[in-house]
């Protein structure tokens, strides 16, 4: 059993595109500088007295590129947590772009899915930042009370959400794949990709759509000699 050519092409192009986008970012190092201002504008004020800031971080281990500071307006930034904007934001975006680039569909079909998908991926990235921020506030104590005092159930949800959505390594790659599949794949495209020969045979066997046979054909004018 051989894989159809569209599948092989897709399975080769996707990792190649992803690796190219990853290497491009490592060489140019542009993403953290874009991520931090956007994150600061979205999360700067977290209701009431709570404040958040993302700053550059020169990690000696070169694992984290930013640090997340949480605190209150009255006390200032009291807690600092290392943060990796590449893993939280860039890699899911790059994977989604790689999947779209590799999908064997014409661009007139892909561009809308690309735009909507990028929006959804960035909503996912906002969630990946949201949970650690909230967790930071629940752990930061002022006196003996946390800055954000949640009931035990919601505390547990925040911890689990931070773990599953932000920290889990698999989630970062899986969600973009699901967004891509939901937006760019339909049953017909999936069938064409999985079994192109059968899809061609079915297309040849399909009767003409009824709408076309009803349309009166334009009579060709005879050529004048």
């Amino acid at each position: 059993m051989f894989l159809p050519k569209p599948i092989i092409r897709f399975l080769v192009l996707t990792p190649l595109s992803f690796i190219s986008l990853d290497v491009g970012q490592r060489l140019l190092d542009f993403y953290p500088g874009l991520f931090r201002p956007c994150a600061n504008s979205i999360f700067s004020s977290f209701g009431g007295d709570r404040i958040v800031k993302f700053e550059a971080f020169d990690d000696p281990n070169r694992q984290f590129d930013s640090k997340m500071l949480v605190g209150t307006k009255s006390l200032g930034y009291k807690s600092r947590m290392p943060f990796e904007s590449i893993r939280q934001g860039y890699l899911p975006t790059a994977l989604f772009l790689a999947l779209v680039l590799a999908t064997p569909l014409p661009w007139r079909r892909k561009w809308l899915g690309l735009l909507i998908g990028l929006l959804l991926v960035h909503l996912f990235i906002v969630l990946r930042v949201f949970f650690p921020v909230v967790e930071g506030f629940t752990r930061l104590l002022v006196g003996d009370k946390p800055v954000l005092d949640l009931p035990p159930f919601w505390n547990a949800c925040v911890r689990r959400g931070a773990h599953l959505i932000s920290a889990d390594l698999i989630t970062a790659y899986l969600i973009p794949v699901l967004i891509w599949a939901a937006l760019l794949l339909n049953v017909r495209d999936a069938s064409r990709m999985l079994q192109p020969e059968a899809a061609k045979a079915d297309k040849a066997d399909e009767p003409e759509p009824s709408g076309e046979s009803e349309r009166p054909r334009k009579k060709k004018k005879p050529k004048r000699k």
Binding site: M1, L3, P4, I7, L11, T14, P15, F18, D22, N61, R62, Q63, R87, L91, L95, R160, H163, L164, D168, L169, I170, T171, A172, Y173, L174, V177, L178, A181, A182, L185, N186, V187, R188, A190, S191, L194, Q195, A198, P207, P209, S210, G211, S213, E214
Partner: protein, 207 residues
């Protein structure tokens, strides 16, 4: 009935029952995407449940610890074959002064969960689903053992690359392999059955 009416009635074909079409005779984008969106939604729900079960229960059970220990021992054995002497103690592997501890997330179970969920939800024969799950499970466990061994090897010989390989390359590769196995299995289960073409016999009765 006039001739034109007869023509119209002979060429107009009624739409098949259950096929919701727009007035132009083509299915809308929503109807085309609906089965995939349903699959994606169910996949997400099942996966969230599996992830919660994984982190809340599975990783705290003793069989999980046994599985990690066995994976570590097999990885150490394979490293020994290539000349990288490695000792094991529970879930820890040590080689040339470098030690790693196999923890939750480095067991391959999440990648297996992705494959199993996708196979179960994909519409196909139960037997083929079981075959896909069994083969995929074995392949992903083998891949995970290779991952553990490679992390020890890179930790000893290319320590600067260890974090990138541990946190970026292997997790993405495991997820990718899980999806590739699913795609290969989907190609297999959607293959049209080959109809044995019997030779045409001349059965004309000759009187």
């Amino acid at each position: 009935m006039s001739d034109t009416d007869k023509n119209k009635s002979s060429t107009t074909k009624p739409a098949p029952s259950g096929d919701k079409t727009t007035s132009g005779g083509r299915r809308s984008a929503w109807q085309e995407n609906k089965p995939v969106i349903r699959f994606v939604f169910l996949f997400l729900v099942v996966l969230i449940i599996l992830q919660v079960l994984y982190y809340e229960f599975i990783v705290h059970t003793s069989p999980f610890g046994v599985y990690l220990g066995i994976s570590g021992r097999i990885a150490a054995f394979l490293l020994g074959i290539i000349g990288q002497e490695t000792t094991t103690a529970g879930d820890r592997l040590t080689s040339a002064g470098f030690t790693i501890s196999i923890r939750a997330g480095c067991d391959g179970l999440q990648a297996i969960g992705i494959l199993v969920t996708a196979v179960v939800l994909f519409p196909s024969h139960h037997g083929k689903k079981l075959a896909g799950i069994a083969i995929g499970l074995v392949l992903l466990v083998i891949l995970n053992i290779i991952r553990i061994g490679s992390l020890v090897w890179f930790g000893v010989h290319f320590h600067a690359l260890f974090e990138a390989i541990h946190l970026h390359i292997w997790p993405s590769f495991m997820t990718f392999c899980s999806l590739v196995f699913f795609v290969i299995w989907a190609v297999w289960v959607t293959q049209p059955r080959a109809v044995a073409s019997a030779p045409l016999l001349d059965c004309s009765v000759q009187s």
